[in-house]
Symmetry: C2
Subunit: 421 residues, 2 copies
């Protein structure tokens, strides 16, 4: 087995979409200003796809492209009529992101196939390496786009008509890149799905465990609110004659943080609540804020806990009307229910890691992934590797090569076991 | 006496610096998007100055311009060796401001002279109508520029070298407008100073009193602070592993508001404290805020109360380090001490209003004015007229014509009384 090979893959992919393409081999090589920008439809995205397809073919995979540009690399099993096992992730990135979020899941899948080839390991099921289109939604503004089409939640034609900021449709972008195919993937023919990903959080690093096995993917609700008061002169408006929208908004920031912590204690759970966005109008030091917009992100793997925090937060926002004589508006633009991954696959991953003596931790995913879509149709599992400082979606995203090797070993073992199950 | 005349003056001046010059006669004529932009050095600023100078000459005033473009229109008294009385304000505006802030004080002074002329009222002291340069600091970034030079706090040469955003110096701008003079004004030859201004707050309107007499001009301190935590993924970072800079900033917003209210109660005073500016980084709904910058405006006419709120606020900001493990930096870029206006002038204004049966209210000014500079050298008074909805520095700034007439009557009467005192 060879860490060297997947390391080369990831360093090569890590050049596409960087300002000045550089080979990043160590954490010290990172530049906090210059990350990877590789949204769907860009030249860098095409290069990354081309590289993956080339490596798939090199590994003997038969490559097929579907209508929204999802890539499948198929290695036939000894019993190709059995349902297959699908393994992979994405190669698009956020704006100014890191080099592992996505590519690690794709290249570890290719690497698993290479190692299986080298061993001459016989497997009954077909193994299909998958690259999902537009997981991040950073150009065409639909996250998890490719997997949403695969499970039939998003209509193919609707997806293809989606436009990026330049007004280009996804269909045009795919044609330009040479990734507008006509393969029709039927998930009924897939028995198991796997995805390896960076954790994007601090838990594995904190506990010094190299591999996480995801049991649940968090539910996500976004609550956006506009709080309106009266814009006034900060010097001439007495305290008792103000309607300060920021004073109201500050109550919400404090409340969401405290209530989330309380819920974690009450349920020994993993509720998180964040006011990540807050815009003040007109935002002058000497002007009483007339309007504030806030964006709140609420997540939990337990649906009831997530809903409790959402409902309590909205109630608190509405209480500002009476407390401060403010006007409030609230909308919920994103609402994903939590997803349980397959117990059978989770158990198999755990057993696979034990076989090769690698320590694992059962955990939840606080971020969304294509696997949460696939899990609605297919028995699905995910494995995580540690993120240095818990950082992702940042040029400073990093995972140690040693952890990547351990993760790759575990996913290879799990693919082998599931392919003959 | 004629409201018609000063109304025409103000409507004419109210055209200069508007997008499409329009005659604004009623509140309903206002357009909330289109105010007056008339910083020093603009064509609109030159037009406004030319209009005032023309009206000064028409009223028989001898016009002199000093080195920083302050305009003086002098009407000789019967005893010109006695110290003079100076009355006026400014004609520059903020960006997208209103039509009364400044011009009202200038034109009411010219109107007072006209009325005194018409009456044939004999006065001993010279009456000098003044237009101060660059009160707002909206092009050349020094507020109260002209009056700061007059009192010797700001060096003439330093003032002239100040540049606007286009890189033009004040000297070049004044030469271009034809307002670079060489008159040397000596404030030792001035006995009294007066300024009429819109209140810019809601108090007079709220109490239904047409004229305010300013006893004190507020002290102003700005506290700017940067609060640093750790930028993290809102989904994958457990509540107990966060350093959320916005949660810390929200504490400050809540504290400043509450502490200011408490100080008002404790001292039956007029303390105000406002977090008017708040910038979140990176400001994404799904990212735990890593950095927040806040701008805090603290004012009081009682120096000790202002300083108490400033000190308590800084202490609170510093307490975030221990409470949330955040880093904080604090700076104080603006610190003006409160100014007491002249008791003698305040009493004279009050008596003058009583003579002509106009109701007044003694009050404080929560905004800064050139009079706070002049008061350091000369016995100074200010009168306020009501601002509709307390609004200024906005296209919606408005004062009713009836209140303008009452204010003009009071300032005319006060000029007459002070000129013979």
């Amino acid at each position: 087995m060879s860490l060297k090979r997947i390391k080369e893959d990831l360093m090569e992919l890590g050049k596409y979409g960087r300002d000045k393409p550089r080979r990043i081999e160590t954490y010290e090589d990172l530049d906090s200003e210059k990350g990877i920008t590789r949204p769907t439809g860009t030249e860098a995205n095409k290069k990354a796809r081309d590289y993956v397809v080339s490596e798939m073919k090199e590994a003997g995979l038969e490559v097929k492209i579907d209508k929204v540009g999802n890539i499948f690399g198929i290695k036939k099993g000894t019993k190709p009529d059995k349902k297959s096992i699908m393994v992979g992730s994405h190669v698009d990135s956020v704006l100014n992101g890191g080099m592992f979020d996505g590519p690690l899941g794709v290249m570890s899948a290719v690497e698993a196939v290479r190692r299986i080839n080298e061993e001459g390991y016989e497997h009954e099921r077909n193994i299909e390496v998958v690259v999902y289109t537009s997981e991040e939604g950073s150009a065409f503004p639909i996250g998890l786009l490719g997997s949403s089409v695969l499970i039939g939640e998003l209509d193919v034609e609707e997806a293809l008509k989606t436009k990026n900021e330049e007004g280009e449709t996804l269909e045009e972008a795919l044609e330009k890149m040479g990734y507008k195919g006509d393969y029709e993937k039927d998930l009924d023919e897939v028995e198991y799905a796997l995805e390896m990903h960076v954790e994007q959080g601090p838990v594995l690093e904190d506990k010094e465990i190299p591999v996480g096995i995801v049991e649940n993917i968090t539910g996500i609700t976004w609550v956006l609110s506009t709080i309106k008061g009266a814009e006034d002169h900060a010097g001439t408006t007495p305290m008792n004659m103000r309607k300060d929208a920021l004073v109201g908004a500050a109550d919400i920031v404090t409340y969401v943080n405290k209530r989330a912590k309380d819920l974690v204690e009450e349920h020994e759970g993993s509720t998180v609540g964040t006011v990540g966005k807050l815009n003040v109008h007109p935002n002058g030091t000497n002007i009483v804020p007339g309007k504030v917009e806030i964006g709140i992100d609420i997540r939990d793997v337990v649906k009831d806990n997530m809903n409790t925090l959402v409902e309590d937060t909205i109630e608190k926002i509405e209480s500002l009307v009476e407390k401060y004589d403010l006007e409030v508006e609230t909308e919920i633009p994103i609402e994903h229910t939590p997803i349980d991954l397959s117990d059978e696959v989770v158990d198999t991953i755990e057993e696979s890691a034990e076989e090769i003596d690698i320590k694992t931790l059962r955990m939840d995913s606080g971020a969304g992934h294509d696997s949460q879509n696939i899990a609605e149709k297919v028995k699905t599992g995910m494995i995580f590797v540690p993120s240095v400082d818990g950082i992702s979606h940042s040029p400073m995203e990093w995972t140690e090569w040693d952890d990547i090797e351990k993760g790759t070993k575990v996913i290879t073992q799990a693919v082998k076991n599931l392919a003959n199950k």
